[in-house]
Amino acid sequence: MLAYVLKRLGLGILVMLAVSTIVFTLTNVAADPARTIAGEGATAADVEAARIAYGFDRPIPVRYAEWLANVAQGDLGTSYRQRRPVADVVAERLPVTLALGLAAFALALALSLPLGLLAGLRENTWVDRLALVFALVGQAMPTFWFALLGMVIFVVKLGWLPASGSDTWRHFVLPSVVLAYYATPTLMRLTRAGVIEVMKSDYIRTARAKGLRPGKVVLKHAMRNAILPLVSVAAVQLGFMLGGSIVVETIFAMRGLGYLAWESITFSDLPVIQAVVLLIAGIYVLLTLGADILNAWLDPRLRMG
């Protein structure tokens, strides 16, 4: 088990290195940081001076190595826009995104598990059809449009919820629902498929044959096995939600990582962009690693292979 975890951890570190290389190169090729630092209306000479002062005249691989060495020591650089350490800027914004992501994730699970279970147990009935339509609509619904419609109804017409910001729990209601609906179809379909497959298996027939109550069969035997494939997908979905919250956060002006990324992108604030991408990628790596370990623990067959 330990060897397995270590191997996965090593792979995770390699992947993070690759991601950091790509992100650093891409952002530095795409934008000229000297121009950003020199500010708007700077002359060519000003830009050149900034380039030399900050060492941007050196080749990208050299700067990457330097940046990586700093990151390894916990120094993420200085924001061009806010002129203070990137680590502080990011740390300030992380709680809002985590709260939003976790609330949306909990909501998505609370919706998709019972719905998927019900649809799977009542395959091809009206319950199943309704769940399927719910999933199809969710898959085709653009997040930002859903957010706008929610705003029209609950903010403009009914006045129940605040339009923008992230100060109270009421600010989180609409964004969490929007983000949750984005992840629900995948989770629901997977639960449904898992339940249908498991209910056909021999051990369910045995459990029924020995006279267990149907409720117990479903909860103790079926759900537990149907959930196995869900663990890794759920981790991936949570990672997607944290990365995809940029759209929702920007629409609702929530002061989280996504909104920070959007502000930084419009300002070409490269160190902040790099840090946000790396942080979200890092969380994703940890989530999938956690899911793999959880799966190996739940299903001994995986541990051996």
Binding site: I22, P142, G243, V277, Y284
Partner: protein, 301 residues
């Protein structure tokens, strides 16, 4: 000769059977019709619209759509502008129809690019296995670890936000699902008898990959293509909505939505209509994909 004729009619019968099954598959038919309508409107755009989508008119700003005349007797609603006009007096129907062209162009081109990359990587990893597979699997994991929307937004905005850059960036980012599916599908067919047979008669590796493996894994690839097309269209709209994708005055649906956002209080149809257009196109593509998956899966046959 008689033998050949028998074969021909058998073939025709089989084709008719496939067609009949496709026509009786509800989501396939709905999806096919939906995508077909959007595609036709996009191709015939100059024939089905009678206003220039870019022509501004100060006196015709924010005219309501035609049904405001039917239900609320709004005298401003006329057939001249069936879906009304936007904040610059541009005809909404024309803008939406021409916006469909942008969505379809991005969807098709980005899928083509990502399909080429993903299928090539997947087929190499699946066929050769070993070290090749290790390297390509690592590439796939790396790609999956990068947050797509964030990286796409940053890259597009930092380079320069144009239709071509958006399309290319999405194409270069969305190949992972193609690679994963091609890889596992290739692994399943590489030890089939017809591949061994092709090897034994001395076929070259590229020939085996292109004429033996690829045709036999085509069905799941078509399904993935529909998924990625919908994803590319959705991401373009999101990028443009955030102001970092396609730039004005192009009538991209995401951009039209972003511009209508300020009129959310007084002209709600302005955010409803482009959203419906986007929703209908995405739903149709997804239904089409679901249909193809059902029709080509072994149980469905």
């Amino acid at each position: 000769m008689t033998h050949l004729q028998v074969n021909l009619s058998e073939n025709r019968m089989r084709r008719q059977k496939v067609l009949r099954r496709a026509l009786s598959h509800r989501s396939f038919v709905i999806g096919f019709v939906g995508v077909g309508i959007v595609l036709l409107l996009a191709i015939l755009a100059p024939l089905v619209t009678w206003h220039d989508p870019y022509a501004q008119s100060i006196i015709d700003r924010r005219l309501p759509p035609i049904w405001y005349g039917w239900f609320w007797d709004d005298p401003l609603a006329t057939w001249n502008h069936p879906l009304g006009t936007d904040q610059l007096g541009r005809d909404y129907w024309s803008r939406l129809v021409y916006g469909g062209r942008i969505s379809l162009f991005i969807g098709l081109t980005a899928t083509l690019v990502s399909g080429l990359i993903g299928t090539t990587l997947g087929i190499l990893a699946g066929y050769f296995g070993g070290r090749t597979d290790m390297v390509i699997s690592f590439l796939i994991t790396t790609r999956l670890t990068m947050p797509v929307i964030l990286v796409a937004l940053a890259t597009v905005a930092l380079f320069n936000s144009s239709l071509m850059v958006v399309t290319l960036v999405l194409g270069l980012l969305l190949w992972d699902r193609f690679a994963v599916v091609t890889r596992s599908a290739t692994m399943q067919v590489r030890s089939m008898e017809y591949v061994t047979a092709a090897k034994s008669i001395g076929s070259s590796t590229p020939r085996i990959l292109l004429t033996e493996i690829l045709p036999n894994i085509a069905a799941p690839l078509i399904v993935i293509a529909t998924i990625e097309m919908a994803t590319a269209i959705l991401y373009e709209a999101a990028l443009s909505f955030l102001g970092l994708g396609v730039q004005p005055p192009l009538p991209s649906w995401g951009l039209v939505l972003a511009q209508a956002k300020d009129d959310i209080f007084f002209a709600p149809w302005m955010i409803t209509l482009p959203g419906i257009a986007l929703f209908v196109l995405l739903l149709s593509i997804n239904l089409l994909g679901d249909g193809v998956r059902d029709l080509t899966s072994p149980e469905g046959r």
